[in-house]
Amino acid sequence: MKSYSLFKKDWLSELRTRYAVNALAMFILVTISVILFSIGSEKISEYLTGGLLWIVIFFSAMSGLSRAFVSEEERNTTMTLQLIAAPSTIFSGKLIFNLLLVFLMNFAITILFIVLFPSFALKNFLLFFISFVFGNIGIAVSSTIIAAIISKASSKGTLYPVLSFPILLPLILTLLELTKFAMDGNSVEASFVEIAVLICYDVIMLTASYLLFDFIWKE
């Protein structure tokens, strides 16, 4: 309940300031436009659109998800949060906020891909949906803890993608594989190993984040 209250505060604050939503919307719009312009009338393969989808998702996450902690640091309100809640409450609240942002953002990107790229055709939608859900959870958890780590650094903009790349790489590679399977029409059972890797990644990142956050949060 306390975490939900923190999420509610962040969401209302976001609606007033539009720190993350505007950055994300602009990034998605610009990136997809650039891809469309560069492709022109060329016909691109299914697999390539799958790859492009996760590239856009990865870089969109880089542009907007760090705001959860960076905005607190920029407004000097980090200490205020430290004074009103336990670290686990703060992390959970920020994670719920990033989960919502990731799901909204990735849903919008996927819909745009389906509408704008005719070659982005999914034969097994259930498999794509499963990878989409667990992938989004992984992206949100990793981005939240990385945002907490970099929020106190002086060059946040550079550090965020640099730190995120090795942490998110196994997740993105697994998601690329699963998207390819979904395009080929593979069954969920046949993709069990990749789905298990995805779930393990989420569980490991979530556990590690809760264990680490206490140390990151306190100066």
Binding site: K2, S13, R16, M79, T80, L83
Partner: protein
């Protein structure tokens, strides 16, 4: 009313290789006002931040107790009211919205009656619905008192409580201190003579530099 005790044992803090203080020992309890004095940059704010568990010390320990029951660092925020000039509220919310959010995040019911009472005491009641963005530095300092006291804490730490305040504001602060000292443990970190005059005991940070 329960007894609140704060025990400080052999506290030591360095910033890099620079010693801030060492060998700080104290045993403080509710019903009294304790002052932390020292010149600018002497480490007053560092000491109160360590007491509030906002930063770590390099050596020594801090024990918070309520009725001889030790309070864990996870729970300390429920017992602590903290005010300092480097504490900021959310500019995009009004004073009342800020305090409602803070109460919800603390997991307590927003005490509207106490909020109105405190806002009246600091003379901000008429501006309670204005965005904090539009507040002057003195008004923001007054609002910090409401933030520090609304959850009725047992340990109250005021770091430079009268900075940015006019004489009317200072008077309101001393009145608040007078009320809170009866039941709670108050710590005031300041180099202002008039702030330190209200303290029962003063710890001079300059005495712990070697």
């Amino acid at each position: 009313m329960t007894k609140y005790t704060l025990l400080i044992g052999s506290l030591e803090k360095y910033f890099g290789r620079r010693l801030v203080f060492q060998g700080v020992n104290a045993s403080w309890e509710s019903g009294f006002v304790y002052g932390i004095a020292g010149s600018n940059g002497s480490g007053k704010s560092t000491l109160v931040k360590i007491i509030a568990n906002l930063i770590s010390s390099d050596r020594g320990k801090i024990i918070h107790k309520e009725n001889d029951k030790t309070i864990s660092s996870e729970q300390l925020h429920n017992f602590l009211g903290f005010l300092s000039p480097y504490l900021f509220l959310y500019d995009e919310f009004s004073a009342e919205e800020n305090l409602i959010h803070f109460s919800n995040i603390r997991g307590i019911k927003f005490n509207k009656q106490l909020f109105d009472e405190l806002m009246n005491k600091v003379n901000l009641f008429d501006r309670r619905s204005d965005l904090v963005r539009g507040y002057s530095s003195g008004m923001k300092q007054r609002l910090r008192f409401v933030f520090a006291l609304l959850h009725q804490p047992r340990l109250i730490i005021f770091d430079e409580p009268t900075s940015n305040l006019d004489s009317e504001g200072k008077e309101a602060v001393y009145k608040i201190i007078d009320e809170q000292r009866k039941t709670n443990l108050l710590i005031i970190a300041s180099n202002d003579e008039s702030d330190l005059n209200v303290c029962n005991e003063i710890l001079n940070i300059e005495d712990y530099k070697k």
